[in-house]
Homo-oligomer: 371 residues x 2
């Protein structure tokens, strides 16, 4: 058959991301492409920077959007902050801790793993033990919102602990940003990255990122060049920072940035605290509805991400077949389990534009019908 | 002032990229976001792969679009194909040869530079000398279409030479693809990358890429892991290759891929040979018009890229001020000179959707008025 224009169906996206993208953001992405060095585009980039600073609650100068997805944001942090033989404490309580380990090893560092069970939060005492045993550790890295399990951790305490032992913190908030409280400056986080396709509800493909001055100093004073040219912040700083002319590094993803600008604008109009509250309120609605039909959560209430609800697949219910029916008959996407949780759980996202009562009703009704 | 939705002006993009994006492609990017593991999306990705294979004129299985701009495509080739201490012959006749050197060094290789003047094509005899002097060289890397100068090189002869000396070839065709003849299989090119924002006229942000089986074997048999997790093709192969389920690597940039799909579809509707011919015909039109108003080209006719016309700024004409007037008064973007050519030349792109008679008329008329 001859290839034709691609007309996707209209899904309700309640998996672990992407979330539903609003028509405002879709419309923004369809506006005319202009040059990446056009003064009008550069002014828009300044606004994107200010809006990301707002979302992260930071004044960090080195705050921008990487021209690649969240996983590139992770790589950027480790590529820039890890030098040969640096010890990095990695708190692993799900899939993404393992990714961090891969990154540290590839960039020549030594990962020190502190492991907790999938579905449990990070045990801060174990982290302190690891820091005591590794006095020369340079970094503590952890996931704010584990997309594989729906568990939140405590960046404030973990960063404080890292600083007590003279370490920097690297925080993965791909799924956290705009969904649960996050105060980058107040909590003194050193490096943090996110994605656009979770609670910001822009299309996937960019990674908001921010570095403290302390992190920036470490990057400026590296003994060796960053292995990745694309990620070398020493090159990128001159492009995003300061007023006026930007030196050419790479061509920015123009239309994707239009979309991110609009998504961040929507967030600023709602107000970040209101966004956190909406995510929590809607979690409670969904939770009550799920419990009514006898469905149980993997994570205990206190450690649960409101934007990502990991539930046990009810006994006797087929995993893939049921998700397939939800998708094909109800246009509803929910997420499968990852890694050790595959086949055991589903992940129901209530992220960004997807976190609303209509979606919750649709999800509960559809689930009740198919299981 | 409060931040508002970003409404860009309608420019005519005749710089070195991005080029004008057609309303078909803009509309495609505004279609509803669906999940990156949705079977319907995966089917579209298969079509994107087939369409990229068509654009490159290759049957290479390892052909896909990197989720980041062309410069990441460059990094992906070097990150995967260069191992510690590998000698890489780099043909440098402009800005992007220098970038290749940076990449080789960072990934632990030894760059052997073969330099030609900016604005001249690669001297194949010098490359052969370098290969004779470096019998242990592993790779020959060069730029098919130098975006900094508007010079084309000869991938067929250079790849044949590389193979004669038991080397692989890495080819940068960021500006070349769809603008001038390129036959990846017939010319036996081993690794090649491009961008979306030049002669394909999709929005910037993705990098079409393709690897021969020989290159793939080298990657599979690496002695050390690829330093960059994001770029490790051993991980990515399982995502893009073969039928059926794709293992999760990163979230694909959904809407950007809708746009690329549509842009590639437009190319396949026109036919690749017709696209090459249109770029050449329009270059001749523009050239005649420019010569009529006394403007001279940097590059001699035979080595000139039809899609990127590098012209000397006429005596007594201000560079930045004139480009600024063209942008503000005529909504026309043309490119400045890069590197050693800054202030001396302008670069006028006739790429993809921008390569048409209306644009040529608008450009000639505007230029005549401001200079």
């Amino acid at each position: 058959m001859k290839t034709q224009s691609f007309i996707p169906p209209s899904r309700t996206l309640m998996g672990p991301g992407p979330s539903d993208v609003s028509s405002r953001v879709l419309d923004a992405m369809a506006r005319p492409t202009i040059g990446h060095l056009d003064p009008i585009f550069i002014k828009m980039m300044d606004e994107v920077k200010a809006l990301i600073q707002y979302a992260f609650q930071t004044k960090n100068e080195l705050t921008y959007a990487i021209s690649a997805p969240g996983m590139a944001g992770m790589e950027c942090c480790f590529a820039n902050l890890v030098e040969e033989k640096d010890k990095v404490i990695i708190c692993k309580n799900g899939f993404f801790g393992e990714r961090m380990k891969e990154n540290v090893e590839r960039y020549g560092g030594i990962p020190i793993m502190v492991e907790d069970e999938w579905g449990k939060k990070i045990d801060i005492n174990k982290v302190e033990e690891a820091l005591k045993e590794n006095e020369d550790a340079k970094i503590v890295a952890f996931v704010h919102a584990e997309t594989s399990t729906g568990v939140k951790s405590d960046p404030k305490s973990l960063t404080k602990l890292a600083h007590d032992y003279d370490c920097l913190s690297i925080v993965d908030t791909v799924t956290g940003l705009a969904g649960i409280p996050l105060l980058v400056d107040e909590w003194e986080i050193d490096a943090i990255y996110s994605g656009t396709q979770k609670c910001l509800s822009a299309s996937p493909g960019l990674s908001p990122i921010s570095f403290s001055n302390k992190a920036k100093e470490k990057i400026k004073n590296r003994k060796t060049k960053v292995k990745s040219w694309f990620h070398d912040l020493n090159l990128i700083m001159s492009y995003w920072e300061g007023e006026g002319a930007r030196s050419y590094h790479h061509t920015a993803p123009i239309n994707a940035l239009y979309g991110l600008h609009e998504a961040l604008l929507i967030l600023s109009e709602e107000g970040i605290e209101n966004s956190w509250k909406r995510h929590l309120d809607n979690h409670i609605l969904l939770r009550d509805g799920l419990e009514n039909i006898g469905i149980n959560f993997l994570v205990n209430e206190d450690d649960r991400l409101p934007q990502l609800n990991t539930i046990f697949i009810p006994d006797g219910v087929q995993d893939a077949e049921t998700r397939s029916r939800l998708l094909n008959e109800y246009n509803l996407e929910i997420g499968a389990g990852l890694g050790t949780l595959a086949g055991k759980v589903w992940r129901i996202g209530l992220m960004g534009h997807s976190s609303n009562e209509n979606n919750i009703d649709h999800c509960l009704k559809s689930l009740s019908e198919v299981i």
